[in-house]
């Protein structure tokens, strides 16, 4: 195997159809950027799930004087009812599932509300009595909120039991749909990238059919004949996937870390470490895709 000769052949082939090579580079670039973005989005979703699910609590809202009569016929939950609810939380049935709980009274709820809606006109009209007193329950396993919901729904003095995860799930569903859309687009583009690579290689082989004929005649091995063509596809796709890796890394560095992370300081975002995990995978995917596509194309073109 003569390295210089193979390199010369590749350079020759790449120069011969520059426009096709550029289109291969661009298509692999864009498709792998989609793949990279989709995988970063998945990493982001995973990270947010870990962060928020752990902090998600189950709220047991107690009746107030303004609660609807059908769930709270007795009006404001009395001290006795509160005590019985708290005892139930402490009971041996629920104790194994509960990490901790705390009680939030009208005053605390009002303060929190004023803080959250500062500057909003709603804050002026609301009175402490309108806001629910609440038992905030943290579970050992946040996915088992069902137990609390079943235990307290319909209990006297409880207006509603709500798992905060139900709010989070909506956000995650949207993010998931977005990343699935990106994956779908990426899959389509990868198919077109593969077809484009094999067309390019076939074109390249056709323009060098004279050389190929002589190589076969003088007994060059199949591997030797095919290698420059396969490497030609691989070189073009590697350039494209390196660009995609660069694009993904700069999105992480400049958009996510440089912009989003400063705007939303209490959210954990994917960082450069995650980007560096995705980037080599993109390049590997680009190399694999092009090697298979061009190998397949040249094998069909060159039968002994």
């Amino acid at each position: 195997m003569r390295f210089g000769f193979v390199m010369g052949e590749i350079g020759h082939g790449l120069r011969r159809n520059v426009s096709m090579v550029i289109s291969v580079i661009l298509v692999t670039f864009i498709s792998l950027t989609f793949v990279g973005t989709a995988s970063l989005l998945q990493l982001q979703i995973g990270q947010m799930k870990n962060y928020w699910y752990d902090r998600a609590q189950v709220a047991v809202y107690l009746c107030t004087e303004v609660s609807p009569g059908d769930v709270c016929p007795q009006g404001e939950a009395s001290g006795d009812l509160k005590t019985s609810i708290e005892e139930k939380l402490k009971s041996s049935v629920l104790q194994p599932y509960i990490k901790e709980y705390f009680f939030e009274n009208h005053k605390q709820a009002y303060d929190k509300f004023q803080e959250q809606f500062a500057g909003n006109s709603v804050a002026k009209y609301v009175t402490p009595n309108q806001l629910n007193e609440t038992f905030w329950v943290s579970l050992k396993d946040p996915s088992k909120s069902q137990i609390i919901t079943e235990s307290f729904s319909g209990v006297a003095g409880v207006e509603e039991v709500r798992d905060q995860r139900s709010y989070l799930d909506q956000i995650f569903n949207i993010l998931n749909a977005a990343s699935l859309a990106a994956v779908g687009i990426a899959a389509l583009m990868l198919v077109s990238a593969a077809l484009l690579i094999s067309t390019t290689i076939r074109l390249s082989a056709f323009s060098r059919r004279r050389e190929i004929g002589i190589m076969r005649l003088v007994g060059a091995s199949n591997f030797y004949i095919q290698l420059p063509f396969i490497l030609e596809g691989v070189v073009a796709a590697t350039i494209g996937s390196a660009l995609a890796a660069g694009a993904v890394l700069s999105v992480v560095q400049f958009f996510v870390q440089g912009y989003l992370a400063t705007k939303l300081p209490f959210t954990s975002f994917v960082n450069l470490g995650d980007g560096l995990l995705v980037a080599p995978a993109l390049i590997a995917a680009g190399i694999l895709l092009s090697a298979v596509a061009s190998g397949f194309a040249i094998r069909r073109y060159l039968r002994i």
């Binding site: 007994g219 030797y224 004949i225």
Partner: protein
């Protein structure tokens, strides 16, 4: 060196087989002319010897390789022991004479050192010293065929297959190519040459295998283009009138 036994080749969509039960044996060091009209089966036979194709039935052995059963990954190594030249030279127009010859060595992985030694040697042997850096387009037809011959023999093949090597050349130039082929043959290489050139066959008086309609019509040592009365091994009876009409007007 070459043994062909009961070979039949039937191409798809053709009623008559291109080769019909052909058997032929060529010894090491032989010089054989393969003659016959277009469509008589010469080219099919050459293709089988090159392992460009396999027969429908029968066996083909070349240099100890069973070409019917040879696995495809071994075909390139078989072809390295074989030289081939064609009527249309098949040179690379963008490479110089020396590069054309070197190319055939590069692609089978020979070292740069070997190439630097072998290429000037073989160019001198075919009489092209001083033209190493010319492009094929700047050479005459005869010189181009010499380049093709240099490429075919640079790897010292045991067998040289020549498919109408003088087909595009004038008689004087053909003469030079034939002298070269004889020298290659004298050096020990078995030469099989398919040709329509009556003058060359008559003058060299080598073994002549004549094909007709896919069968071997005659196989004669030290013979001319047309069967003579002193024929020692008639294969089958034949009609003089038919034969002459073919040999005068049969050239495509």
């Amino acid at each position: 060196m070459i043994r062909i036994e009961n070979v039949t080749k039937q191409y798809k969509g053709s009623s008559r087989p291109a080769l019909n039960n052909v058997s032929l044996e060529i010894e090491k060091g032989d010089f054989v002319f393969l003659v016959g009209a277009s469509g008589s089966g010469k080219s099919s036979l050459m293709r089988l010897m090159l392992r460009e194709d396999i027969p429908t039935s029968g066996s083909v052995h070349v240099m100890g390789e069973n070409l019917v059963a040879i696995p495809s990954r071994r075909i390139p190594f078989f072809r390295r022991k074989l030289g081939v030249v064609f009527q249309d030279f098949r040179l690379l127009p963008t490479k110089t004479v020396a590069q054309n010859v070197a190319f055939s060595l590069e692609v089978i992985g020979k070292s740069q050192g070997f190439i630097h030694e072998a290429v000037p040697d073989v160019l001198a042997m075919v009489g092209l010293e001083g033209k190493a850096d010319r492009l094929p387009g700047e050479l005459s037809g005869g010189e181009q065929q010499r380049v093709a011959l240099a490429r075919a023999i640079v790897n010292k093949p045991a067998v040289l297959l020549a498919d109408e090597p003088t087909g595009n050349l004038d008689p004087a130039t053909s003469e030079g190519i034939m002298a070269l082929l004889e020298r290659i043959n004298l050096a020990g290489t078995t030469v099989v040459m398919a040709t329509h050139d009556r003058g060359i066959v008559d003058r060299l008086q080598k073994r002549v295998v004549e094909m007709r309609e896919g069968e071997i019509f005659r196989d004669q040592r030290s013979a001319g283009y047309i069967k003579t009365q002193t024929d020692s091994h008639p294969v089958k009876s034949w009609n003089l009138a038919v034969d002459q009409s073919w040999s005068l007007g049969g050239d495509e």
